[in-house]
């Protein structure tokens, strides 16, 4: 047997070790070196405060009594963690965005930073947690008593005394490491690390006992399997109601328990931690639960294990003489109990100081007495006193109740109590319509039913006349009996309480939310919560700027955050606004930021009240909300305008690029044109020079002279024609040409053109097919210019048409205000790839020598047609070369 004194020494040594560890972690974090303190593994391990002494000892007892039902307590959290993407991620994001300090703060911040709600939640949490803390003290003293069974009476002492010592030690540790700083954003690194280490110890201890049981006391898994089948444990009967209710309760508890909220949301550093915990924490629970059943089965069958299944984890190794293992198991249980108490006390103390003490203090102060005291000191003392008070309450409960009830029952009562927060929390996260009145009504109804039908009955007979109430209902009203509400009997008391409290809670919450109208601050916060992912960084402002003096605010902030931190905050804000010094302009943004920062220290409701006081109660009104909404709409409109503008810019840029491309092309064309024209001019000039040289020489007979003179003359004519054409083209292109518009007849123009074109001698027979009836169209145009177009087209046809009998058909189709004239020959037409260039200058198709032109004809035609307000295009697929002229019936005079 382990000497009792050794046990006490080991305990003290272990606690001292945790002290040192926490101290080192705090120092490392303060130096900024504690990155590993924020690792997902430490986070996951810290979540294991879920597994209290109730798990460590109680799960085995639970399994011995109710078989596999114990597992529901771990399945609920597994489901919630596996679904982290749905709920936890949002919760953590909101926790960070709003600097939430506790579960009460969360609910209060959501419902318009209401102190009433925060107070209700805080009170309920304290009431629910007190027995739970008592349970931890009880388990430690029970464990002590197992070891001390054989110690002399003098050494063993009183169980209550042991519990007192444990409570005092825990209070000291919690106060030392839990209330060092005020801003909850500076996390409790020391505490978290100590808890992570304790998590490893308890897991290791339980697995060690499990391994000993499976392989030491049995022959391995196969035999355990057989023993479970044969054991009385297997006789348990699954109660579907309890199975569902317990799974639900455990899932709700992991969201609502103050200590779980503390480690999961408040101490969270980033979402990566959560992602890892989503599978690692269920794995932890899995490992914790793995050996529970074997230990229970073997313990029940072991003659030396004693009568209390809750202590099998200790008594089995002791009965087998494995004192080291027993010691380890004891430390595991000790770890489970202490870590729960520490975190629960921190979380509750934060809630009590922020939501009960500070609001009362703010109200009691004389109105004129503005922030005279050091708020920081008051908050810290309030927190320290709260920790001590909470542990004292826990001890008192233990001492008065005598610690008789089975561990599991007490834990479940606490679960049902905190589960009452669930409708308000989930509704607040996902439903913008949830209001403060709804939340308050739901909480009050749910908590009342919980107290009446589960909490009070758990005491046995706490009040005179209670036995009568239990049996016959208050004042003899049968349908109000605590465990048979509305006359429905036969339900398991726990399922009964869960069902009625949660369903009526939800009903009241939804009902009151539907019929009440939220205050502006509630609507603001509702939007911030529900749409936390959508509206990140563009939060609506809850304040009007300008009303408060920056100096007053600084004075207040200093008293809460401490001078150094407050000054840094103000200096940063001033620098961001572009002013120097410590006093930024008091804008709505700045007030919002300051409030968030203060909320991290004293909770959102108190921070809001303080700023409201400093700013002279200038909180936001409905009109302000609408103004903000309008502002947002304006910003959106503005950004849309910007978008449209940028689109337009893009369009313009595209057009500019296009224009540039054309200009470059034109420049290339111009160069080509110049070189072409030099060539065209040079050819006749060369022959003129050559022949005039010959003429200058003596000894030429007359016939030769005439011949040479004729050549010179012909070349000169060609040159002149070329120059005429060029001149014509350039005049047309420059737009300086004046059109002689007058009323005329199309057939007259065509007749003139045909006559002119036919005058030139041709080698082949040539026919022109006309439709005199259709040609009789009156139009206003420049007849000379239009005739020139027809002459060019007909001449071209005569030059290029390769049919043995040349035929040109001129078809006229008059429209209402436009006239279409097709000039079609019967040759082989123009090849497809040349069709695009024929209207360009100097463009000639096929054998150039035959043509004898400079390739300006069609270019001139195009220019003329454009000047006349019409167009010319090549018309493919007509059997030969075909051109379509489109003409307006009357050219606008301005053209």
């Amino acid at each position: 047997m382990v000497p009792f004194n050794t046990l006490v020494l080991v305990c003290i040594g272990y606690v001292a070790f945790l002290f040192v560890l926490a101290f080192l972690a705090e120092r490392s974090a303060a130096r900024g070196a504690g990155r590993w303190l924020r690792s997902p593994v430490v986070y996951t391990l810290s979540l294991s405060v879920y597994c209290t002494a109730w798990t460590f000892y109680g799960a085995v007892g639970y399994a011995a009594r109710s078989g596999l039902e114990f597992i529901t307590i771990y399945l609920g959290p597994t489901l919630v963690m596996a679904g982290w993407w749905l709920v936890l991620r949002k919760l953590v994001r909101i926790g960070k965005a709003q600097r939430i300090t506790s579960v009460a703060d969360l609910v209060s911040a959501r419902y318009g930073k209401s102190n009433l709600i925060a107070g209700i939640v805080t009170l309920c949490a304290v009431v629910a947690s007190t027995p739970y803390i008592a349970l931890q003290l009880q388990s430690v003293t029970l464990a002590f008593s197992v070891f001390a069974a054989e110690a002399p009476e003098a050494v063993r002492g009183d169980a209550r005394e042991t519990a007192l010592w444990v409570a005092a030690g825990l209070a000291l540790f919690t106060i030392l490491f839990g209330t060092r700083n005020l801003d909850a954003d500076e996390r409790h690194h020391g505490v978290v690390l100590a808890i992570a280490v304790e998590a490893v110890v308890k897991l290791f201890a339980l697995i060690a006992v499990g391994v000993f049981v499976v392989w030491g006391l049995s022959a391995g898994p196969a035999e355990i399997h057989a023993r479970i089948m044969a054991s009385p444990v297997s006789e348990w009967r699954l109660d579907p109601g309890r199975w569902v209710a317990l799974t639900f309760l455990a899932g709700a508890a992991i969201l609502c328990l103050p200590r779980m909220f503390q480690v999961m949301v408040v101490e969270n550093a980033d979402e990566r931690q959560l992602a890892t915990a989503s599978w690692a924490f269920p794995l932890y629970l899995f490992l914790i639960s793995l050996f529970v059943m074997p230990i229970a089965v073997v313990g029940l069958a072991h003659p030396g294990a004693g009568g209390n299944p809750d202590m099998f984890v200790l008594t089995l190794p002791l009965a087998e003489g494995r004192e080291g293992l027993a010691m380890l198991a004891f430390l595991g249980g000790f770890s489970a109990a202490t870590s729960m108490v520490i975190v629960e006390a921190i979380a509750l103390a934060t809630m009590v100081s922020n939501h009960l003490v500070l609001p009362i203090w703010l109200r009691l102060r004389p109105a004129g007495h503005r922030m005279g005291e050091d708020v920081r000191r008051i908050v810290l003392s309030a927190r320290r006193i709260s920790i001590a008070a909470i542990l004292a309450l826990g001890w008192l409960y233990y001492a008065l109740s005598g610690g008789g009830a089975a561990l599991a029952a007490i834990g479940l009562i606490a679960f049902v109590g905190v589960a009452q927060f669930l409708p308000a929390i989930l509704g607040g996260l996902f439903w913008r319509g949830a209001t403060r009145s709804g939340a308050a009504a739901g909480l009050v109804v749910g908590i009342a039913i919980w107290l009446y039908s589960l909490f009070l009955p758990s005491f046995g007979v706490p009040l005179p006349g209670w036995a009568g109430v239990m049996a016959e209902g208050p004042l003899g009203i049968g349908w109000l009996r605590p465990q048979a509400l509305f006359g429905i009997e036969g339900l398991d008391p726990l399922v009964h309480a869960v069902f009625w409290s949660i369903s009526l809670n939800t009903l009241a919450f939804v009902g009151f939310s539907l019929i009440t109208f939220p205050a502006p601050m509630e609507r603001l916060q509702g939007a911030e919560f529900v749409e936390v992912f959508e509206r990140e960084g563009q939060g609506l402002r809850g304040w009007r700027g300008g009303a408060a003096e920056a100096e007053d605010l600084l004075a207040m902030a200093q008293r809460i955050l401490g001078p150094e931190e407050a000054q840094v905050l103000f200096q940063q804000a001033a620098a961001e606004q572009g002013t120097g010094g410590f006093l930024p302009e008091v804008t709505a943004e700045f007030l919002e930021r300051l409030e968030r920062r203060l909320a991290g220290a004293v909770g959102s409701a108190t921070a809001h009240a303080m700023i409201a006081q400093a700013a002279g109660g200038q909180a936001v009104s409905v009109d302000d909300l609408m103004a903000v909404a309008n502002e947002a709409a304006q910003i959106m409109e503005y950004s849309q305008k910007l978008e449209a503008q940028s689109e337009e810019l893009q369009r313009t840029a595209r057009q500019l690029r296009e224009a540039n491309r054309k200009l470059t092309e034109l420049s290339v064309q111009k160069d080509a044109f110049l070189s072409q024209i030099s060539h065209e001019l040079r050819t006749p000039m060369t022959s003129i020079r050559a022949f005039s040289e010959i003429l200058r020489d003596e000894g030429l007979d007359d016939a030769d002279r005439v011949r040479f003179a004729t050549v010179i003359y012909d070349e000169a004519v060609r040159l002149t024609r070329l120059l005429d054409d060029l001149l014509d083209l350039s005049v047309l292109e420059n737009g300086t040409v004046q059109m002689n518009l007058r009323e005329t007849d199309l057939s007259e123009i065509i007749g003139r053109a045909v006559a002119t074109a036919s005058a030139a001698a041709g080698t082949r027979p040539f026919r022109i097919l006309r439709d005199p009836e259709a040609e009789k169209v009156a139009l206003v145009t420049d007849p000379d210019r239009l005739a020139q177009v027809f002459i060019n087209l007909i001449t071209n046809a005569r030059k290029y048409c390769d049919a043995p009998v040349q035929e040109v058909r001129i078809a006229v189709r008059p429209g209402r205000d436009r006239l279409v004239v097709d000039v079609i020959d019967n040759g082989s037409g123009i090849p497809r790839d040349s069709q695009a260039i024929i209207f360009e200058k100097f463009a000639r198709v096929g054998d150039t020598t035959k043509a004898g032109g400079a390739g300006l004809g069609l270019a001139i035609c195009r220019e003329i047609m454009e000047k006349l307000g019409g167009s010319i295009a090549y018309l493919p697929g007509q059997g030969g070369a075909a051109f379509r002229l489109t003409l307006p019936r009357a050219v606008a005079r301005a053209a």
């Binding site: 749905l86 089948m229 297997s234 699954l238 899995f286």
Partner: protein, 95 residues
Amino acid sequence: MTRARPPLFLERDDYRRRRIMDAARILPVLGAVLLLLPLLWEPQQTPAPDTAAGGLYLFAVWGLLILAAALLSRRLIERPAAPAPPTAGREGPGA
């Protein structure tokens, strides 16, 4: 007040990511269904107590849930810094 319409179809990566988010939302429901299956057991009516088999079933489902959560969470935080799609957190019309 009009809003810029989010794109109707997403690129392959974003599409995959959305479906993983869907899976992450479905996982707890699936887990709940599997873990509530014991409601249908009637241990009293089987010839021998089947607590051991039931326990094995529960632990197996549990293990699979852990595995699935681990795989999903790894994929979900692959691009934590990427700007969340405009409809993140809500079932958007994407894809």
